[in-house]
Amino acid sequence: MPWPSKRRVIGTKVPRLDAPVKATGRAKYSFDINRPGMLHARIVRCPHAHARVKSIDTAAAEKIPGFRAFHLLVKPGVELLFAGAEIIAVCADTEEHCEDVARAVRVAYEVLPHLVKEEDALRPNQQGTLGGNDPNVGPGGEFATANFDAQAFQNVAHTVEARYGVPVICHQCLESHGQVAEWDKDLANLTVYASTQAVPLVAGQYAQYFKIPVTRVKCITHYMGGGFGSKFNPGPEGLAVAELARKTRAPVKLMLDRAEEVTVGGQRPSAAGTVKIAATKDGVVRAYEVDCYGSPGVGRGATVNMQYLPYVYSHIPFIKRKHRVVRLNIQTARAMRAPGHPQNCYLTDQALDDLAARFNPPIDTLQFRLRNLPPNDPDAAKNAPLSYLALRHTIYTREIEIARKLSQWDKKWHAPGADKGVVKRGIGMALHTWGGGGGVNNDVRVTISADGSVLCQCSTQDLGTAERTVLAIVVAEVLGLEPRDITVQIGESPFGRSTPSGGSTTCPGTAPAALNAANAARDAFFRAIAPRLNAQPGDLVIEPGRVVNRGNNEGMPWRQACARLGQNTSVGTGDWTPGLSLQGVGGVQTAEVAVDTETGVVRCTKIVAVQDCGLVINKLGCESQTAGGVIMGLNYALFEEAIFDRTTGRQVNPNMEFYKLGGIQDMPDIVVHMMDMPERGVIGIGEPPTIATCAAVGNAVFNAIGVRVPNAPFTPDRVLAALASRKGNR
């Protein structure tokens, strides 16, 4: 069954169902779970960026009052590759005693050389710091279109060659990683309250680890306090707490503290490099060459999405790219909200504006983008007419036009640096794309009871995406009810399969499943009550709040109809099916800034975000997600950076006072426009809106001061350095 063509609830603004319990502190997150007799655990970590463990002595720690148990995570002799690496988990009766125990564990180390800065690792003949013969720098991929070297820069009018970079940043989930684990008396069944983005997956991982049937593991995540791609598995801390719970036969809680959350809870990898870009005299980009590198920490793998460089403008005729992976003695990268895309966007969109500025007169960067938009793909238009490839030119053209009006672009844009005065204003733009499709393995179950109540269950999790409300909206639409009439239960692994919340796939995965389940429940309901109404099931239809028999045009209120179920309930189940969701969105953002050229302070004053996401389920939730993505992107542009000390190899800002995140007074006016394209089906919105913001702000700063600040975040020192480097001060 397709989406209803007339939609009463879907696409409206529905306040999230769990808002009241969240706003009054009654929602219980994993961090808030207190079980009777619960013990506390924490992890002793390596303070050195690279060291070999010589010995672990727990004799003194075992004498601390309240001590209960240890769980060793590494053995003496092991080489640890970053500050924060796990050594031993300790457990005590109170958190205070647990800290005492942790502090009393004596670990001896042989300290080894480390590298925590990309530029240090890139020095020629640099000795490796990863153990064995593993080099710090390795290939991350190379590609060139045919005849690039011979032809790319022929017949071009303007060429720009410049360096750009974005730093390592940290996830900074406000609810840190962690779990409460509890075994039953005979140690047969495990219950885990986990702060996770993947409830059934985590249950399965515990089952595998402990070699018990997955049916004996219950993972519960009713509420979770922030996940941006770093919470897909139990982690060493999660397995350790379950081990300690088994050893002590008591519930145990282990939530990372802030320093741990920042230093081991996940990082978005850096990306930096040289871009060479050229255009013909008509302002058409002919060549894009990038030689870049980035650090996934001790992890492996590229830090940009190689196949999407240049970003969005993938049709540029001559493309050459090279990437090097710089492994450093810092925590491994984890997927963070549109992995690779903000970096790609930055390495593309900054260069584009620098190129437009080379023309005389400089080309308006909005017009420059319109001139260089990728065309709608004619093959895709034939085979998949609703796909991103088939529609991208149409989507971006429409979105740019909307953004032009909402940002008053024509009034605000000026030649770079043309604004007079000490505080200079500027405006910039950037474009992004993302997938965001749904898929199978999302079980939704809808139960209609004789008292008229409706229950919707799915094991999926709500990361702050209003997922509960998404399910309620879809079920309410089908059953002629209001979202608040639907009881939604999520975040428990026994409810069945659901896909991890990554890649903006949760809404497009579960909303179609909820539609199918609600349709099935309604059909079962009609079959059950039709005989009692002397009707055929096919004659019954739902109208808002009513069930109507088309045979005689008689209707009755919903609850009265449900009462005909007697002792029965009507149950429908559903999974995702094709045709109800799609993937592939475009987005356009503009940013306005005011740059104080005396202090170097950049203030962002307005951001316009125009975003498509196919069929909007909850307009309020979509707008919140989009504004939230913009704000995360703004933090990336102006505040966030994981700073590492070259000497000790430690992060110097594993906290929230020196790792900066914007507060409400730092926020610009944010104008969100959802470009509804219901014919495309549901597409996820979590990731795309955070991609373009940093690049748009960077371009706005360039537009304001007429000189490029090459590295984000655009802090006062970097802005002043860029201004000072400008030749021939205006």
Partner: protein
Amino acid sequence: MNDHTEPDQPATGKATNGNGMSRRQFMKGSGVAAAATALTQAPLLEASAAQPAAGEVPGMGPAAGRLTLNVNGQKMTTNIEPRVTLLDALRNYLDVTGCKRVCDRGSCGACTVMLDGKPVYSCSMLALEAQGKPIRTAESLVQGEKLDPVPAAFARYDAQQCGFCTPGFVVAMKAVFEQNAKPSPAEVERGLAGNICRCGTYEQMRDAIYALCNQKRRS
């Protein structure tokens, strides 16, 4: 970090004071030390079970002692060590979990509660200091199903996503309105300057603020 939360007992110059420990030992370190304290072999509270030495001021602890707090109009009693922060006392010992532990060092505001009618970072004060003073958390801002206007506005305008910072923001905002019945939106924002949200709900929070101030936000 606020110095006014230092305990009154004079430090002895050693790592421990008359109570068997100093604030430095129990407050969660500064900078890199936050990680380092748990990692290095800093001498552990040898005195954790020791009695006060002769001549030192007798005080509470280091063992747990009885403590009563007045939380949301209810007297709540528990046994805690004197080093326990108000935040940890509420969360770990009294199961009042609306105040959240996030930065645990007075930067993010997730732990905000009202103490004697004023918003405070409960992570940066000892539970001992809160004795005898009324403590209010976000949980107090609902009666049955009826929400106080502040959380009601958060709900209506969708000013929360994951919601982990939200109770702290709600309490801080409630405090603004209790101190000034008719604040301007800018004054409300100033009252929230000590709170941080990671999901990025500030835009929707502004909608809530303007509504609570009876002002129209956009034409």
